[in-house]
Protein backbone atom coordinates (compact mmCIF):
# COMPACT_ATOMS: atom_id res chain seq x y z
CA UNK A 1 0.00 0.00 0.00
CA UNK A 2 1.12 3.56 -0.60
CA UNK A 3 2.05 6.07 2.04
CA UNK A 4 -0.11 9.18 2.25
CA UNK A 5 0.54 12.53 3.91
CA UNK A 6 -2.44 14.71 4.68
CA UNK A 7 -1.73 18.44 4.87
CA UNK A 8 -4.36 20.15 7.02
CA UNK A 9 -4.29 23.88 6.41
CA UNK A 10 -7.91 25.01 6.98
CA UNK A 11 -10.03 25.97 9.93
CA UNK A 12 -12.49 23.50 11.45
CA UNK A 13 -15.73 22.97 9.55
CA UNK A 14 -17.50 20.47 7.33
CA UNK A 15 -14.68 20.48 4.76
CA UNK A 16 -12.22 19.72 7.54
CA UNK A 17 -14.42 16.90 8.83
CA UNK A 18 -14.58 15.49 5.31
CA UNK A 19 -10.79 15.41 5.17
CA UNK A 20 -10.76 13.57 8.48
CA UNK A 21 -13.28 11.05 7.12
CA UNK A 22 -10.90 10.40 4.26
CA UNK A 23 -7.96 9.95 6.63
CA UNK A 24 -9.94 7.33 8.53
CA UNK A 25 -10.69 5.46 5.29
CA UNK A 26 -6.97 5.61 4.45
CA UNK A 27 -6.35 4.06 7.84
CA UNK A 28 -8.94 1.33 7.27
CA UNK A 29 -7.29 0.45 3.95
CA UNK A 30 -3.97 0.21 5.79
CA UNK A 31 -2.22 2.94 3.87
CA UNK A 32 0.66 4.35 5.90
CA UNK A 33 -1.04 7.59 6.85
CA UNK A 34 0.56 10.71 8.35
CA UNK A 35 -1.11 14.00 9.16
CA UNK A 36 0.53 17.42 9.30
CA UNK A 37 -1.34 20.43 10.70
CA UNK A 38 -0.10 23.78 9.50
CA UNK A 39 -1.35 27.34 8.93
CA UNK A 40 -5.02 27.70 9.99
CA UNK A 41 -5.18 23.92 10.31
CA UNK A 42 -3.77 24.22 13.83
CA UNK A 43 -7.14 25.65 14.90
CA UNK A 44 -8.55 22.16 14.42
CA UNK A 45 -6.54 21.09 17.42
CA UNK A 46 -8.32 23.48 19.77
CA UNK A 47 -11.32 22.65 21.92
CA UNK A 48 -11.34 18.98 21.01
CA UNK A 49 -12.79 18.32 24.44
CA UNK A 50 -15.84 20.50 23.77
CA UNK A 51 -16.93 19.38 20.35
CA UNK A 52 -17.48 16.27 18.30
CA UNK A 53 -14.48 15.60 16.14
CA UNK A 54 -13.45 12.43 14.43
CA UNK A 55 -9.84 13.61 14.84
CA UNK A 56 -10.05 11.93 18.23
CA UNK A 57 -10.70 8.62 16.46
CA UNK A 58 -7.52 8.70 14.35
CA UNK A 59 -5.45 6.49 16.60
CA UNK A 60 -8.18 3.85 16.61
CA UNK A 61 -7.80 3.69 12.82
CA UNK A 62 -4.02 3.28 13.01
CA UNK A 63 -3.34 6.87 12.05
CA UNK A 64 -0.69 7.71 14.62
CA UNK A 65 1.90 9.87 12.90
CA UNK A 66 0.62 13.35 13.68
CA UNK A 67 2.68 16.52 13.23
CA UNK A 68 2.11 20.23 13.73
CA UNK A 69 4.18 23.15 12.39
CA UNK A 70 5.74 25.15 15.22
CA UNK A 71 5.54 28.54 13.49
CA UNK A 72 1.85 28.06 12.68
CA UNK A 73 1.13 27.59 16.38
CA UNK A 74 3.24 30.58 17.38
CA UNK A 75 1.82 33.09 14.90
CA UNK A 76 -1.74 32.24 16.01
CA UNK A 77 -0.84 32.26 19.68
CA UNK A 78 -2.04 28.70 20.05
CA UNK A 79 -0.35 26.97 22.96
CA UNK A 80 0.76 23.38 22.49
CA UNK A 81 -0.44 22.71 26.04
CA UNK A 82 -4.04 23.31 24.94
CA UNK A 83 -3.89 20.39 22.49
CA UNK A 84 -5.33 17.07 23.55
CA UNK A 85 -3.78 14.99 20.80
CA UNK A 86 -0.39 13.36 20.90
CA UNK A 87 1.62 14.99 18.12
CA UNK A 88 5.13 16.04 17.21
CA UNK A 89 5.99 19.73 16.80
CA UNK A 90 8.13 20.25 13.71
CA UNK A 91 9.81 23.05 11.76
CA UNK A 92 9.50 23.81 8.04
CA UNK A 93 12.53 21.70 7.20
CA UNK A 94 10.65 18.69 8.53
CA UNK A 95 7.68 19.70 6.37
CA UNK A 96 9.82 19.35 3.24
CA UNK A 97 11.10 16.04 4.53
CA UNK A 98 7.59 14.71 5.19
CA UNK A 99 6.45 15.65 1.67
CA UNK A 100 9.48 13.89 0.19
CA UNK A 101 8.97 10.78 2.35
CA UNK A 102 5.40 9.96 1.24
CA UNK A 103 4.10 8.55 -2.03
CA UNK A 104 1.10 10.88 -2.09
CA UNK A 105 0.26 14.21 -0.51
CA UNK A 106 -3.38 15.23 -0.09
CA UNK A 107 -4.58 18.64 1.00
CA UNK A 108 -7.79 19.85 2.55
Amino acid sequence: MKSVLYLIRRRPGIAADETTDLMLVSGVFEQRTSVLFLDDGVYQLLGLGERQSSLKALSAYDVQDLYVAADSLASRQVSADAIELDLRIVDRHAVRQLIADHDLVLTD
Binding site: G47, R51, R76, Q77
Partner: protein, 86 residues
Protein backbone atom coordinates in the same frame (compact mmCIF):
# COMPACT_ATOMS: atom_id res chain seq x y z
CA UNK B 1 -23.56 57.18 15.81
CA UNK B 2 -21.27 54.21 15.98
CA UNK B 3 -20.69 51.45 13.45
CA UNK B 4 -20.86 47.76 14.33
CA UNK B 5 -18.04 45.73 12.80
CA UNK B 6 -18.75 42.00 12.55
CA UNK B 7 -15.64 39.89 12.06
CA UNK B 8 -16.48 36.37 10.88
CA UNK B 9 -13.17 35.62 9.14
CA UNK B 10 -9.94 35.83 11.15
CA UNK B 11 -7.95 36.55 7.97
CA UNK B 12 -9.76 39.89 7.68
CA UNK B 13 -8.63 41.05 11.13
CA UNK B 14 -5.98 43.55 10.04
CA UNK B 15 -8.29 45.26 7.54
CA UNK B 16 -11.12 45.31 10.03
CA UNK B 17 -9.02 46.87 12.79
CA UNK B 18 -7.77 49.53 10.38
CA UNK B 19 -11.38 50.41 9.54
CA UNK B 20 -12.62 50.66 13.13
CA UNK B 21 -13.12 54.24 14.30
CA UNK B 22 -13.13 55.64 17.82
CA UNK B 23 -16.43 54.66 19.46
CA UNK B 24 -17.26 51.81 17.08
CA UNK B 25 -18.09 48.29 18.26
CA UNK B 26 -16.32 45.12 17.15
CA UNK B 27 -18.00 41.75 17.53
CA UNK B 28 -16.27 38.47 16.70
CA UNK B 29 -18.62 35.78 15.39
CA UNK B 30 -18.15 32.40 13.70
CA UNK B 31 -14.51 31.68 12.84
CA UNK B 32 -13.82 35.33 13.68
CA UNK B 33 -13.54 34.31 17.34
CA UNK B 34 -10.28 32.56 16.46
CA UNK B 35 -8.72 36.01 15.99
CA UNK B 36 -9.39 36.97 19.61
CA UNK B 37 -5.85 36.23 20.88
CA UNK B 38 -4.53 38.47 18.10
CA UNK B 39 -6.64 41.53 18.97
CA UNK B 40 -4.03 43.22 21.12
CA UNK B 41 -5.94 46.40 21.71
CA UNK B 42 -8.66 48.12 19.80
CA UNK B 43 -10.28 51.50 19.82
CA UNK B 44 -13.60 49.68 19.73
CA UNK B 45 -15.84 48.11 22.29
CA UNK B 46 -14.94 44.45 21.91
CA UNK B 47 -17.35 41.52 22.07
CA UNK B 48 -17.32 37.80 21.29
CA UNK B 49 -20.35 35.66 20.48
CA UNK B 50 -20.28 33.19 23.36
CA UNK B 51 -21.63 30.12 21.54
CA UNK B 52 -19.03 30.40 18.79
CA UNK B 53 -16.14 30.92 21.21
CA UNK B 54 -17.08 27.87 23.27
CA UNK B 55 -17.55 25.71 20.17
CA UNK B 56 -14.07 26.63 18.92
CA UNK B 57 -12.24 26.33 22.21
CA UNK B 58 -11.32 30.03 22.35
CA UNK B 59 -10.19 31.33 25.71
CA UNK B 60 -11.98 34.54 26.64
CA UNK B 61 -9.74 37.36 27.86
CA UNK B 62 -11.06 39.95 30.27
CA UNK B 63 -11.02 42.73 27.69
CA UNK B 64 -13.82 41.14 25.65
CA UNK B 65 -17.51 40.98 26.55
CA UNK B 66 -19.31 37.68 26.05
CA UNK B 67 -22.48 38.14 24.04
CA UNK B 68 -25.59 36.02 23.63
CA UNK B 69 -27.57 36.32 20.39
CA UNK B 70 -29.93 38.67 22.25
CA UNK B 71 -26.97 40.91 23.10
CA UNK B 72 -25.85 40.71 19.46
CA UNK B 73 -29.24 42.09 18.40
CA UNK B 74 -28.97 44.89 20.96
CA UNK B 75 -25.58 45.90 19.61
CA UNK B 76 -26.90 45.90 16.03
CA UNK B 77 -29.83 48.09 17.04
CA UNK B 78 -27.59 50.49 18.95
CA UNK B 79 -25.31 51.12 15.96
CA UNK B 80 -26.36 53.11 12.91
CA UNK B 81 -24.87 50.64 10.44
CA UNK B 82 -22.88 47.44 10.36
CA UNK B 83 -19.93 46.18 8.33
CA UNK B 84 -19.28 42.47 7.94
CA UNK B 85 -15.70 41.28 7.49
CA UNK B 86 -16.13 37.77 6.11
Amino acid sequence: MAVLHLLSNPDALASCLAAVAEGDSLLLIGDGVLALPLVASSKARLGVLRDDAVQRGTQLPEAAEELSYADFVSWAVACRSSVTWS
